[in-house]
Subunit: 379 residues, 2 copies
C-alpha cells in the first residue's frame, strides 16, 4: 500500500476532536494513545495482544534502537515493523529526550548532541540530519524532529535559547526529511511553562507547515495546572487540519483534560510501567495489587472488561503473583492496563462523535472513585 499520509477531522465537541490519521500501514483513530515500545517491544506484551487491545500505533525510541540493535541492523532485517512483528503504524522519537535524560555525557552544540551510550560508554554524535536518517532506517511512519530538551524548572533565557535552537533544528530536519508522501515529520513546540516562549515556538513552527505538531517539554515535573495552562495558549495557535500530539502524557485524567483542549495523540510509559509494578488502571479506578486487601479477593480486575487479562484472573491471584515476583503478574497487568487505556480512548472517540464529551468526562471521573468507595470484596 502507498497511502499518502494525511489527517481527517470528523467531528469536534467544543475543543475536543475526533478524526483519523492515514498512513500506508493503517489508520490511526484519534484521539489515539500510543503504547511505548522502547526497545522494539512493548514490555511484557505479545504484539498480538497490543493490537487486539485496540492499539493503532506504537511509539519506538530511536535512542535505544540506534544503540541496540542499531538502526542499520534493523534496516537490514527489514525495518522496525518486521523486526518486532508490528505491521501497523509506528512513530519514532528523535532520540533527543532520552539522550538528555539517560546518557552520561550530553553536550549540545548547534550541530546536534554529543553523548555517551548508557550501555557501553561509547561516544556518539546525533545531528539533526542523523536523527532523520536513523528514523528512516527504522522505517517510521511518523518521525519527530530533534529538539533541545531542557530540565525542569529552567531559566527563561536558557528556555528561549533552547526553543530558538529547536526552531533552527526543525528547519534542518524538514530539509533532511524531504518530500516523502507516505511518511510524516512532526515539529515539536517547546518553551517549558512560559506562555510567551510557547507562543513564539508555535507561531514559527506553524509557518513552516509540518504534517503534524507535537507539544514537548510537558509532563516533566510541572503541575497539571501549568500543563493545562500551556495547552490552553498553545493549541489555538496550531493548524486545525493537522494532528496534534502531546508527548509523554499521561494519566487517564491528563488525557481527558488534554483531549478537551484539542489534543489528538498521546504516548506514555505509565500503563506499561505501572503494570510491571503491580498497579492496575480500571474503569473504577487505580488499584495496587500488592496491597494485602487483595489477598483473598476473588473478583477479577473488571468483570465487564473485554480483555482476558482484566476479566480472567482474580485479584487474589494477581496479588500472589506480585508477592512471589512471578513474571505473569507483570504480563497480565500490562495487558489489562493497555486494554483499559485503549478502551478509554475508544469511549472518548464515541463521546466526541455523539457530542457528549463533557458529560462523559464527568461520568468517568465519578467512576474512577468507585474502587475506593466499595467494600474490599472478601469472598
Amino acid at each position: 500500500m502507498s497511502v499518502e499520509f494525511g489527517f481527517r477531522l470528523f467531528e469536534t465537541d467544543n475543543c475536543a476532536r475526533r478524526g483519523e490519521v492515514l498512513t500506508s500501514r493503517g489508520t490511526i483513530h484519534t484521539p489515539a494513545f500510543m503504547p511505548v515500545g522502547t526497545q522494539a517491544t512493548v514490555k511484557a506484551m505479545y504484539p498480538g495482544h497490543v493490537r487486539s487491545s485496540g492499539t493503532d500505533i506504537l511509539l519506538g525510541n530511536s535512542y535505544h534502537l540506534m544503540l541496540r540493535p542499531g538502526a542499520e541492523r534493523v534496516a537490514r532485517l527489514g525495518g522496525l515493523h518486521q523486526f518486532m512483528n508490528w505491521p501497523y503504524p509506528i512513530l519514532t522519537d528523535s532520540g533527543g529526550f532520552q539522550i538528555m535524560s539517560l546518557s552520561t555525557l550530553c553536550k549540545i552544540t548547534e550541530d546536534g548532541v554529543l553523548f555517551r551510550s548508557h550501555i557501553d560508554g561509547a561516544q556518539h554524535m546525533l545531528t539533526v540530519e542523523k536523527a532523520v536518517n536513523i528514523q528512516f532506517l527504522l522505517g517510521a511512519d511518523i518521525q519527530m524532529q530533534l529538539d533541545e530538551c531542557v530540565a525542569f524548572p529552567c531559566h527563561q533565557d536558557k528556555l528561549t535559547q533552547a526553543m530558538h535552537r529547536s526552531l533552527r533544528w526543525a528547519e534542518r530536519a524538514q530539509i533532511a526529511f524531504g518530500n516523502k508522501p507516505t511518511q510524516a515529520l512532526f515539529a515539536i513546540v517547546q518553551g517549558g511553562i512560559s506562555e510567551e516562549i510557547r507562543i513564539e515556538s508555535a507561531h514559527s513552527l506553524r509557518s513552516m507547515d509540518f504534517k503534524g505538531y507535537a507539544i514537548g517539554g510537558l509532563a516533566v515535573g510541572e503541575s497539571q495546572k501549568d500543563m493545562l495552562r500551556i495547552l490552553d495558549v498553545t493549541i489555538p495557535l496550531l493548524p486545525k487540519n493537522k494532528p496534534r500530539y502531546l508527548m509523554g502524557v499521561g494519566t487517564p485524567e491528563d488525557i481527558l483534560f488534554a483531549v478537551a483542549r484539542g489534543i489528538d495523540m498521546f504516548d506514555c510509559v505509565l500503563p506499561t510501567r505501572a503494570g510491571r509494578h503491580g498497579h492496575a488502571y480500571t474503569r473504577l479506578g487505580r488499584l495496587n495489587l500488592r496491597n494485602a486487601c487483595h489477598a483473598e479477593d476473588s473478583r477479577p480486575l473488571d468483570p465487564e472488561s473485554d480483555c482476558p487479562a482484566a476479566n480472567g484472573y482474580s485479584r487474589a491471584y494477581l496479588h500472589h503473583l506480585f508477592k512471589a515476583e512471578e513474571m505473569l503478574g507483570a504480563m497480565i497487568l500490562t495487558w489489562a492496563n493497555i486494554a483499559y487505556y485503549q478502551k478509554l480512548m475508544s469511549d472518548i472517540r464515541l463521546a466526541i462523535k455523539e457530542k457528549r464529551f463533557t458529560a462523559f468526562t464527568e461520568m468517568t471521573h465519578y467512576d474512577w472513585k468507585m474502587e475506593k468507595k466499595k467494600p474490599s470484596g472478601k469472598n
Copy 2:
C-alpha cells in the same frame, strides 16, 4: 464431572507404551510431559498458551504453595485449578524434595520434616499426613507421597534407611489419603543408583497397590547411564496396569530413552528455565539465542512449528530481546520450548501407536544434530 481415576493402556512397542490417565478434569495422553507451575504459574506463560501447546497436566509444588499463598488460602479461593486458571489435571508433589533442597533448616524425623521457610525463616513441620492434607487443600488430581530424598552421591546405609522410611511413609500416606475414587496418590520408588535398594523399594510399594508409581531420586547428578540402568531394573517390577512417572526428567533425549523403557509421565523445569535463559529447544536441536551468530539471522526458530512463538519471530529479534533483557524474550522462548516438548510427546505417542518408536528415536536424534551442521543463515 466425577470420572473415576484410571489408566488405560492402548499399545506397547517393545517396552514403550501409549495410554491415557483418566481424571475428573480431563484425560492425560501418555507418555505425557508435565510443565512445572511452581508458584501457581508456569513461569512467563499464560495458562491458555500452556494448554494450546498440548499440555494435558501441570505439576504444582506443594512446598512453595504451602508457604505462599498458603494451602488454606488456595482452598478458600476455590482450589489451585481455579486460582491459577487451569481447569485441567494437576499433579502436586509432596513438598519433600524442595524442602530438602531449598530450606535452611531441614531435620528429618520419623514423623516428617522440620524446616524453615526460605521466604521468612518461619519454622514448619511437614508430616506425612500434613503433606496429604495440603495436597487435598490444593485440590490435586494426583498426589505424591512424602518421601525422604537423599543427596547424591549417598552412602548405601543411609540410602537403605531413607528408602525404608519412605516405605513406612508410603503406608501412612495411603491411610491418610483414604478412598478417593476421583483422585490418586502415587508412591515413589527410591534407592539412588543402587539396584538392590531400588528392587526392594519397588517390590514393597507394588504390594501396597497404589494408583500410580513414580521413580524418584534420579536426575539429581548421576550419569544418564546410571539413570537408565536403574530404570532397567526398576520398571519391570512395577505393575503394567498403573501409570509410571519419572520425576524431574528431563532433556528430550532422556525422555526418549525413558519412554523406550516404559515410562508414562515426566516433569521437568528444563524447557521453562532454559527458555528464560535464552535457550531454545527445536526439532533441529538446541540453540543459545544469546550467541552473536543469531544477531542478523532472520529465520524463525522453526518455520515448520505450529507454535506462534516458534514460527513468528526472527532469531535476530530474540537475540536482541535477550541482549536488551526484555521480558518478551523469556515469554517467547518458554512458550516455544513447551510447545516443542509437547510436540515431541505427541510424536512419541503416534510413533508408539504405529509401532515405529525405535525408528522415530533414531530419526529424532539425527534431526537434533541439524542446527550444528547448517550454515548460520545470515540474511
